[in-house]
């Protein structure tokens, strides 16, 4: 209630003074307490009516699409991604993570790592897990429990009356660039650490012998 409305109310009913003194402080606290949850409730209704209806329809359509295509189809890409060679890097750390996150969603997407040799698994996980938020801008089905990384910031853009499509698309594309770099770098680091570990083991074995 705005101050002017409050003043008008007081003017209209001069017999009721607002509580003052100790009791007034308590009453003020009570008001603030209830107001906190009122604001929260309004926010909740805003989220439910603003986001849920579109989300439900979109999720149903995408879930149906995934069922029609069949998630098993990406298994062959998993097998292809296991091959060594420079030309398979984009398959391993771009195509496979994006498709697994889209079709299998978080957390089942990481099961696609089973097609890869051990030395690629950490890098693939890093790559796939880094894509579970960039994808939510356009395909929220992939990670329904963690939508607010994007939605929180998107809400601010919406308040300003700006269109969200541009941000969602750029988030999706920059995400692809980032997961590719992440995959390649983590693969290099994993290879170094595995090499050091095996040479360390050999040295230990010699020391024991």
């Amino acid at each position: 209630m705005s101050f002017s409305a409050l003043a008008a109310l007081v003017a209209a009913e001069p017999t009721v003074a607002p509580p003052s003194g100790f009791w007034g402080v308590l009453a003020g606290w009570a008001n603030a307490f209830i107001d906190t949850f009122k604001i929260g409730g309004e926010n909740f209704v805003g989220l439910v009516t603003g986001i849920i209806p579109t989300l439900i329809v979109l999720l149903t359509a995408v879930n149906a699409l995934i069922r029609w295509i069949g998630p098993d189809r990406i298994d062959s890409i998993g097998e292809m991604a296991a091959r060594p060679g420079l030309q398979y890097y984009p398959v391993r750390y771009l195509v496979l993570p994006v498709l697994s996150v889209f079709f299998l969603t978080n957390p089942m997407a990481y099961t696609m790592g089973r097609f890869l040799p051990e030395r690629y698994k950490p890098a693939f996980y890093d790559s796939a897990v880094s894509y579970v938020h960039p994808i939510t801008g356009i395909f929220p089905h992939a990670n329904g429990g963690e939508l607010f990384v994007y939605l929180g910031i998107a809400a601010g853009i919406q308040t300003l009356g700006l269109p969200l499509g541009d941000l969602a698309l750029r988030y999706l594309l920059v995400g692809m660039v980032v997961i590719f770099i992440r995959g390649v770098l983590t693969e290099i680091i994993t290879a170094r650490m595995m090499a050091r570990r095996t040479s360390g083991d050999a040295a230990n074995a010699e020391a024991v012998a």
């Binding site: 989220l47 989300l55 999720l59 950490p122 429990g145 980032v178 650490m193």
Partner: protein, 180 residues
């Protein structure tokens, strides 16, 4: 008569299949909304209520506001989130990233942070993504225990580089976004 029967059966079957798939998809969707999405909306709403009503939120927001409104500040946030000891603690359920996302969204909506920083901010608050989940994620990929032992530090150290790098990439990719 035979052919008509066959056609009818085929049509019936395919229509039934389509309807069945759509219905199952709807069931999955409602399940997800009730299990994952609504509870988080309730949680976020409580936080938003407290942030808007009390000064705690304002103070917190003023603390991150200067950091989130410039490239060096965003880099600082991303390095902080990517520190190998902190990243697994900040990771679970992406709760921290989501709360910070909501806080930053409020500030962007209030006009305190320029909207073109939305894209780099999305990466700055999230270099810790999945850092709490590495052993489980690798186990889902049927990794050997030795791979997990190497994989956990490998991913954590990689984030220290790729976290800030992702902010820089996003910063350059945000040219022309919400600005003329």
């Amino acid at each position: 008569m035979e052919t008509i029967n066959k056609t009818l059966v085929t049509i019936g079957r395919s229509v039934g299949g389509v309807v069945g798939v759509l219905y199952q998809a709807g069931r999955d969707t409602i399940d997800m909304v009730i299990r994952n999405i609504l509870p988080f909306m309730a949680f976020i709403s409580v936080i938003v209520g407290i942030i808007k009503k009390t000064e705690v939120g304002d103070k917190l927001a003023h603390l991150i506001e200067p950091a989130a409104g410039s490239l060096p500040g965003l880099l600082l946030i991303s390095v902080f989130c990517a520190i190998p000891v902190l990243s697994p603690l900040l990771g679970p359920g992406a709760v921290i990233a989501q709360i910070v996302g909501v806080l930053l969204g409020e500030r962007i909506g209030a006009g305190n942070i320029q909207p073109q920083y939305a894209l780099p901010a999305l990466f700055a608050i999230n270099p810790q993504v999945g850092c709490d989940f590495i052993p489980v994620g690798l186990a889902l990929g049927e990794a050997e225990p030795e791979t997990v032992e190497v994989g956990v530090p490998a991913v954590l150290f990689s984030r220290l580089v790729t976290g800030p790098l992702s902010v820089v990439i996003a910063y350059f990719a945000s040219f022309g976004l919400y600005s003329s």
